[in-house]
Subunit: 340 residues, 2 copies
């Protein structure tokens, strides 16, 4: 029906105006600023229906309407097209990310870039270890019984772990240990590392066996341990601008961002299909994120997902622009990390 269609136009206009002005929007202003072809009175009727359906709400009786989470959801799903980035913005992304010196550099540039493009808090997950493969293992003797194990993955990530051995290790055994570990694990997906241990123990010379056992145990532990997934976070200063959208205080949100595990779950639960994922307000199912939305996407090549990245901001955000930025950056970062 024609006026179902118009009601959606009204909702879209409400979202757009509210996002840009932060004032509850009334029927009169709506009629003036958008070519809806009908009078304020008609719009009021539409608004009454939209409110009844739960897409908008009024803060108090004599105020305009504000989109609800449900309203934003409909807007994102059906009323907005992801806005393509301008050529200048694309160039900015390339210029910003090219020339990174190492993995950390790539990620920290990414996070700054995202924060700058979206004016929100940006979050990038380190490439997940379990999906990478071992490129090289290095063992360095730090003290008699202390070894430093350094793992280099094919995504350029470098992991380190201190190992306390039960007894002192002979200096000449270290080289043997290194060779053994490398021949056993080289090229292995980290997720499969555990299954290689029995073979390794069989082939190890008897005098090294206990040493190999404790080191490989520590290695597997490091790799499998999911808590090791780290985040790079940036653009927190943008929260100060968005403070008006978080009535109580920024505190819970800032705490959640420090409590990395919460954000990690949000960012890492991405659709592997290469689509941008938007979680609006209560959909995040976390108290500290009341009034906040998360726009995220996985990065990596089609056959190998590496991790997730995204932004966190108030529900009252410019979804089309932010979704476009997240998508563009995720794709470009995926390319860069696939190359190296």
């Amino acid at each position: 029906m024609a006026h179902d269609e118009r009601r959606l136009q009204v909702l879209r206009a409400i979202v757009q105006d509210y996002v840009s002005t932060n004032d509850p929007v009334g029927s009169k202003a709506l009629a003036e600023r958008h070519d809806l072809g009908v009078s304020p009175a008609t719009i009021r009727n539409d608004m009454a229906v939209l409110e009844e359906q739960g897409y908008i709400a009024q803060p108090h009786t004599s105020a305009g309407r504000v989109p609800t989470d449900k309203g934003y959801r409909l807007f994102v799903d059906r009323l907005s097209a992801v806005k393509p980035l301008s050529a200048a913005e694309r160039r900015a992304i390339e210029r910003f990310l090219d020339g990174a010196l190492d993995l950390y550099d790539v990620l920290s540039r990414t996070v700054r870039l995202l924060a700058q493009l979206t004016h929100q808090v940006a979050v990038v997950q380190y490439p997940t270890l379990s999906r990478s493969a071992v490129r090289h293992l290095e063992v360095v003797q730090v003290a008699g019984s202390r070894l430093l194990l350094v793992l280099i993955t094919d995504t350029g990530r470098v992991e380190q772990r201190l190992i306390e051995c039960p007894v002192d290790v002979a200096h000449e055994d270290v080289a043997d240990l290194r060779a053994l570990l490398n021949s056993a694990f080289n090229g292995a997906k980290l997720a499969d590392a555990g299954s290689k241990v029995p073979d390794l123990l069989d082939t190890a010379p008897p005098n090294l066996r206990s040493l190999v056992a404790s080191v490989s145990a520590a290695l597997v532990e490091t790799l499998v341990e999911p808590g090791e997934d780290r985040l790079v976070i940036g653009g927190t200063a943008n929260l100060a601008r968005a403070a008006v959208d978080f009535p109580g205080s920024l505190r819970p949100l800032l705490e959640a961002l420090e409590e990395q595990v919460v954000v990690l779950r949000l960012i890492s639960e991405v659709d592997t299909g290469g689509a941008v994922l938007v979680r609006i307000g209560e959909e995040n199912a976390h108290e500290a994120l009341t009034g906040a939305s998360v726009v995220s996407m996985g990065y990596g090549s089609a056959d190998r997902a590496l991790g997730g990245l995204g932004i966190v901001g108030p529900t009252r955000m410019d979804y089309p622009t932010n979704m476009a930025a997240v998508r563009a950056v995720a794709r470009y970062v995926g390319q860069i990390l696939a190359e190296s």
Copy 2:
């Protein structure tokens, strides 16, 4: 004179009360809460003098007094004793920091600990490279002409750097390169690394010379480059609580914290003598830090300074407690890193 002494007591009382209540403090309240042995009227006279000398100020005519930066300075220098930590707090520090798995883990635990003890934003500088020594160098071939250089220092720090060589590198040359680099640089202070390059080039076999030249150039560049000094920051959520002390907005401060270079300068300019350094308000000479104080201290053993750590908070902070916390944590972290 006796009443000079009393005026200082009055200033101390004003600072203490103001820090704990955040209300401008008046003469009557002061006389009630502190045993100054004189009447409010007398205190008023003292306050008039203190104000004239610039130690305190009144926000408006009918309000109590508030310490100025100069007043806090006097308080820190002459009126407060660094408050020793309780045995329980000491134990908490040890429990919190022991059992860290690697350098990053030590630093991130440290930052969380400091933030928790002081209720302020905590900052820890990575151990400065140039004061460390090379423990091991690892070269991994990532692609034909691409090498990943991994540096392990005696402070447990692991640095990585991608090197793009002008031509493809033969697989068997990589091992030779590794051996050459290690024999040349092993045990060298990073600051001295540059001076070792000529010798290295002389001893290198002719066919490797150009390769060694480009790799060692990149190595020296990585080591000397001071911008590589990184920070770990935590406790940003504490700023939300302190928001009342930053009248305009938290924005400039949050931005300064992201603009790591500003904070880095503050934290790294520490007295090497092992004393806590306090910078109050305008002493920081940075616009974004108006109303903010920095409490910092170097860590490392007596003969080898590694870096700085500290906290950033409103000028209205509990200096004695915070100075004690910074000092205790800096000492303990220095111990831990010296051991490894």
